[in-house]
Structure formats: structure tokens, C-alpha cells
């Protein structure tokens, strides 16, 4: 595999993963102390947490051979801003927010209305069409889903 440049935020994510692996190892040790038998509940958690930690060490070693991003010398604020805009573009952030709002609104507004609002908003924001076109497509899709899943598949919709 040839050398590549670091991806924005790669090292920061690696730090987070390393902390995660240490936390998993710590909890695995607690489980092992609670059930110290080799055939007990702690054996697989310990094995996988050790493997994860060893692999992370090797991944750190791998990243050392990658070319640094040219703007690594910038200040933390600027690098943070660049990283966020590179790995979380506007449409992705909007989509994640809409998904979470959708999940929260589902029990309140029920499936048909919530799904219609989610689809219409998403299609309009992602420039899939005008407001009326987005609403029309969403209405059609919701109707198709209700017929397909409730009638054909006999699935209980959220």
C-alpha cells in the first residue's frame, strides 16, 4: 500500500478510539475480577479488548508513515474548523439532525406525518426539487410505503 496523507481529524479520532479501548479493557478487567474463572464471563471481553488495544498501537505506527496534512501547522481553532467542514459537510450534519428529530417526533406525530415532513424537508434542502415538488414526491412515497408495508408485508409501522 502506498503512502497517503493523513485524513483530517484522523489522529484525533485515533486518540478517541485509544481512550475507548482502554475503557473497554478496564471494564473487562472488572468483569474478570467479578468472575475470575477462565471459563467465566470475562474471558472473551479481555481477549477482544487486548486485541483492540494491540491493533490500535499498530494503527498508530501506520499513521506515522503517512504524510502530514499541509496545514497541520495552523492553530487549533482553524484546524478544528477545517476538519469539521471536511468530514461533516453541511448536508451530512443536516441529515443527522433531521434523523434525530424524526426519531423524537415519531411517537408524537405518528408515522405518516413525521415521515412526510422528513422526506419533504430532506428533498427540498438537498435540492431535489421545489417545495411543491418535494411535498408531492414525499406524499407519493409515504402512500407507497403504507400500502407496501402495511398491506403487502403486514408490517406494523412505527
Amino acid at each position: 500500500m502506498g503512502k497517503r496523507s493523513l485524513i483530517e481529524g484522523e489522529k484525533s479520532v485515533l486518540v478517541i478510539i485509544t481512550i475507548f479501548c482502554i475503557a473497554v479493557l478496564e471494564e473487562s478487567l472488572r468483569i474478570l475480577f467479578r468472575d475470575p474463572a477462565i471459563t467465566g464471563s470475562g474471558i472473551i471481553p479481555i481477549i477482544v479488548s487486548v486485541i483492540m488495544l494491540i491493533m490500535i498501537i499498530f494503527i498508530w505506527r501506520e499513521t506515522k508513515s503517512f504524510s502530514p496534512i499541509y496545514y497541520e501547522k495552523d492553530g487549533i481553532k482553524r484546524r478544528f474548523g477545517r476538519t469539521i467542514s471536511a468530514i461533516l459537510p453541511r448536508q451530512t450534519i443536516i441529515s443527522i439532525i433531521l434523523l434525530i428529530l424524526y426519531a423524537i417526533a415519531l411517537p408524537v406525530l405518528k408515522f405518516n406525518i413525521t415521515t412526510f415532513l422528513f422526506l419533504a424537508t430532506s428533498i427540498f434542502v438537498f435540492k431535489g426539487g421545489s417545495l411543491i415538488k418535494s411535498a408531492a414526491i414525499s406524499l407519493g412515497v409515504v402512500a407507497a410505503i403504507v400500502v407496501l408495508f402495511s398491506v403487502l408485508f403486514k408490517v406494523i409501522l412505527p
Partner: protein, 497 residues
């Protein structure tokens, strides 16, 4: 003894054949549209067909599997975007052919080769699975553990940029599978007092999030990608050209069957290895590889469909998935009260026969649908992503909700989707995570059983490993897999191959 009567089920019950046909048709379009995946489609289908009888559900899923693996080649040829991972190698020579105005020729070849490979894979399944099932009855717990570990190692090391990331993801999946109440001791693990975590994380929820939602989030970056219009004609290849490439077809189909039969590897790896094989063995192609060589289409397409039959072998006989889709199939069988493994073929021989029969018929429908509807297909592929992607997200959420009718699963799916998004951005493969979650109970149960049999002694466990023939073979395979990642060993292996 091969269960022939079960194989005739789709013929005796025409509604099953119809469902296979529907599945193949839908699978072709699911596989063809970049952003949709066969694994996602089959994952969603498990929850949607939950209330169906087992046979119709399985027939539909087999159809989608077969159609979807082929379907990825269409967008690979027309758009240079593989619709499925199994079609990555198809882009190498398929797209250059379409740039020359020979997209129809490329599509025709891929259909025929996929059908031939698929049928050969089906025959291999019918013949090999009963033999493997007999051997599987003599598998001890440590053999199952080693087989599962081998599967995770393979999927974590083949076809990924970084072996370490692949193995990390496999271990991460096993860790996720440990969350909840331990089935043997009843101890809570990694629950932190949360009721939501006590019942563990449903792997279908994780799978839908990791494959479905995350891919939709990734594809949002390409909303403004230009839609390429294509002209397609002259599709059906001549008998002469099919026979001309038959020796290569047979070799790469065999590669596909073997790779598919290895736990954790599937059509994508089979296609890449077969393409590499074709490059090494075809000395003077009419057109150089990478510029529209027909051999560059023959090899991956026959291999990836042959791998379907191969991947069913360990799934049905050992309960270990051959690839991500068969991993989902295992879930489907469990939901319908069946337990894949050596006893499945004894207790439910009709299920084995149904899968073989459905797979065979799916290839007939693949030939029909593959040669037709190309113009419709180009319209579907041209649907804007800004419309398609939100629909995919909704379907994913519906799919995860229907498993337990639980709102918590919707939040878990979104969470796994976001996790999968970040994993993909930083080059961490998703497949090993899902495989790890699925194999986690099997790995843990069998390791603990093996340790109990060895009277809780590591020394006795190693004695058991190195004195049983199956364990010796498996451990050597694992050691070889690990060693083959070393640069010097790779160079040595390349000299021999």
C-alpha cells in the same frame, strides 16, 4: 445424501418461483443503484417478511441475493460506480468498454458469465454441503471457535486497506456482541446499569445502521455528481465468444466457490482475486487489461456469482456465514425457528433443498431479466440522490423498528449509522464489525465449552488443538493468514502464484 425433492420445491410451488423471480428483479435494481446494497436489502427483508412463512421468505431473499450480486455490475459498467462491492473489479474493464460505445456487449457478457458462475456455485452447494455437514458433525467446540476466528481474520485482512483496522473492527464487533447479559452466567456486561443495554444490541439493528444509514450519509457528499447518460445496444453475446472464454470461466468460478466457502469472505474478494488470476494467466488478451479486456469482465463476474453458492456452504452446514449476506440469512433462519448448522440438513432437509432449488432458478431468471430492461434501468439509476437517499433512510428505520417494534431500535440504528459513517471516512471496514457481532455468541460459547472440556487448563486446551486433525488444519490456516500479511511472505507467495 442430497435432498433432491427439496430442490424441486420452487417448481412444485409456483408461487415460490414467482417470489424468486421478484427477488431477482428487485435485486438487480437494488444491486445496480449505488448507495443501495444487497446486504441492506436482505437485512430489511428479514424484518419485513417476519410474519411470512419460512419458504416464501427464503425464496425471496435468495432471489435478491442472486440478482443483487449481478446488479452491481450494471452501474459499474455504465457509470464506473460499482453498485455492490462484488462489482468493484467489473469497473476495471467494464467502464472502458462502455466509453468505447460497447456497454451492451459488456452487459451481455456479465449476464452470461454471472449465470454460468451462479449455476456452478449452485451445483457445488448441492454436492459439497452434504459432505461438509458430515464432517461438521465431528467438529469440536474448539474447531468452531477456530473457524469463527479464521472467518474474522480473513474478512479483516482481505480486501481492506489496513489489516490492523480490519482486525480491530472484527474485535470491535465481538465486543459489541458481548454487551448485555451473559447467556451462561447471567452476569451483566458493559451495561452500566442501563435497561436499554441489558438485552444486548440486536445485530440486525446494527447491520441496518452500519450498512444502510451510514452509506446514505456518505453518499450525501455526492449529491451534485453529474448523471451520465448512456446508449446501450447489441447486448446478447454469441455462442462462440461464450465458448472461447469457457476455460477462464470455469477456473474463476472454482475460485469463487472456494473463496465464497471460506467463512467471512464473499463475492467481492472472489471477484478481485479472480481478476488478478485472469491478469496473470491470460497472456495475450485482444485488448489490454484495464482498457476493456473481455477477460476482465469474465473473471470477476463468474467468480462473484459462483461465490453465492460457496458462501451458503459454511452457512448451512456450520452455522458460520460465508459473507455478510449469508450472515443476514442466518438471522432469517433463526427468526423462523431454524438453526443453521450440521443438524439443519438432517432436521430440515427441505430447507437446504429449497435454497439450492431457488438459487438454481434464480440464475434462469437472471438470464431473462439481465438481458432485458436495460433502458428502464438507466432511468432508475438516473433518479436524483437527493430523492433516493432520504427514502433509503426511512426504509432503514422502518426495517429496524419492525424487528422488535421498539423505538429504542430506531435510535440504535441512527447511532450505528453515525458510527458507520465515521468508520468509513477513516478507512475502517464495516463488514468485520457486523461479522464480529454475529459471530460473538458462537465464538464465546465454543471457547468456554472448549475450556470446560480442557478442565479450565490452557495447556490441555492447546493439547486438544494440536492433537485433533481439524483443529491443526484450522490453526495452520490462521497462522498462514497472519504471516501472509508480512511483506516478505507476500513477496514469496506471489512468486509461487
Amino acid at each position: 445424501m442430497v435432498e433432491f425433492s427439496g430442490m424441486l420445491l420452487p417448481i412444485v410451488h409456483p408461487e415460490l418461483a414467482l417470489l424468486v423471480a421478484v427477488g431477482v428483479f428487485a435485486g438487480i435494481y437494488v444491486g445496480a443503484i449505488p448507495g443501495l446494497s444487497v446486504t441492506m436489502a436482505v437485512s430489511l427483508l428479514i424484518s419485513f417478511t417476519f410474519s411470512w412463512d419460512t419458504w416464501p421468505a427464503i425464496a425471496l431473499m435468495v432471489g435478491i441475493f442472486s440478482g443483487g450480486v449481478y446488479g452491481g455490475s450494471r452501474s459499474a459498467i455504465l457509470l464506473n460506480i460499482p453498485g455492490a462491492p462484488a462489482a468493484i473489479a467489473t469497473t476495471f474493464d467494464g467502464y472502458p468498454l462502455s466509453l468505447k460505445g460497447e456497454a451492451g456487449k459488456a452487459i451481455g457478457i456479465t449476464v452470461v458469465e454471472s449465470v454460468i458462475g451462479g449455476i456452478l456455485g449452485c451445483i457445488a452447494l448441492a454436492v459439497a454441503a452434504p459432505m461438509v455437514a458430515k464432517i461438521a458433525l465431528s467438529f469440536s467446540p474448539i474447531d468452531y471457535f477456530l473457524l469463527g476466528a479464521m472467518g474474522l481474520l480473513l474478512v479483516g485482512s482481505l480486501g481492506v486497506d489496513s489489516t490492523y483496522k480490519g482486525i480491530f473492527c472484527g474485535a470491535l464487533g465481538v465486543f459489541i456482541g458481548c454487551i448485555g447479559i451473559d447467556g451462561i452466567s447471567g452476569m451483566q456486561r458493559f451495561t452500566y446499569g442501563s435497561n436499554a443495554l441489558m438485552s444486548g444490541l440486536n445485530y440486525i439493528t446494527a447491520m441496518i445502521g452500519l450498512f444502510g444509514i451510514s452509506e446514505a450519509l456518505i453518499q450525501l457528499k455526492y449529491l451534485d455528481a453529474n448523471i451520465v447518460k448512456q446508449k446501450v445496444d447489441k447486448i446478447i453475446p454469441s455462442w462462440g465468444s461464450v465458448l472461447k472464454y469457457m476455460p477462464l470461466t470455469l477456473r474463476t468460478s472454482l475460485i469463487g466457490i472456494i473463496i465464497g466457502a471460506l467463512p467471512g469472505t464473499g463475492g467481492d474478494i472472489a471477484a478481485l482475486i479472480s481478476y488478478d488470476h485472469a491478469k496473470r494467466t491470460v497472456r495475450n488478451p485482444e485488448v489490454p487489461f484495464g482498457e476493456g479486456a473481455v477477460e476482465g469482465l469474465v473473471a470477476p463476474e463468474s467468480a462473484n456469482n459462483a461465490a453465492i453458492g460457496g458462501s451458503f456452504i459454511p452457512m448451512l452446514t456450520l452455522g458460520i456465514p460465508g459473507d455478510a449476506v449469508t450472515a443476514v440469512f442466518i438471522g432469517a433462519l433463526y427468526i423462523h425457528g431454524l438453526k443453521p448448522g450440521p443438524m439443519l440438513m438432517i432436521e430440515s432437509p427441505d430447507m437446504f433443498g429449497l435454497i439450492v432449488g431457488s438459487l438454481f432458478i434464480s440464475n434462469i431468471f437472471l438470464l431473462i431479466f439481465g438481458m432485458t430492461g436495460i433502458k428502464i434501468f438507466t432511468r432508475v439509476v438516473e433518479v436524483k440522490k437527493s430523492i433516493l437517499l432520504p427514502i433509503i433512510m426511512i426504509l432503514s428505520i422502518i426495517g429496524s423498528y419492525t424487528i422488535n417494534n421498539s423505538m429504542a431500535d430506531i435510535f440504535w440504528t441512527i447511532g450505528f449509522g453515525i458510527l458507520g459513517y465515521f468508520l468509513k471516512i477513516y478507512g475502517y471496514p464495516i463488514g468485520p464489525v457486523v461479522l464480529g457481532i454475529i459471530l460473538s455468541p458462537l465464538l464465546e460459547l465454543n471457547l468456554r465449552r472448549a475450556l470446560m472440556s480442557a478442565e479450565s487448563s490452557i495447556i490441555l486446551l492447546f493439547r486438544d488443538i494440536f492433537t485433533q486433525p481439524i483443529s491443526i488444519v484450522l490453526i495452520m490456516f490462521i497462522i498462514l493468514s497472519i504471516l501472509s500479511q508480512n511483506k516478505n511472505v507476500k513477496r514469496l507467495l506471489n512468486k509461487f502464484m
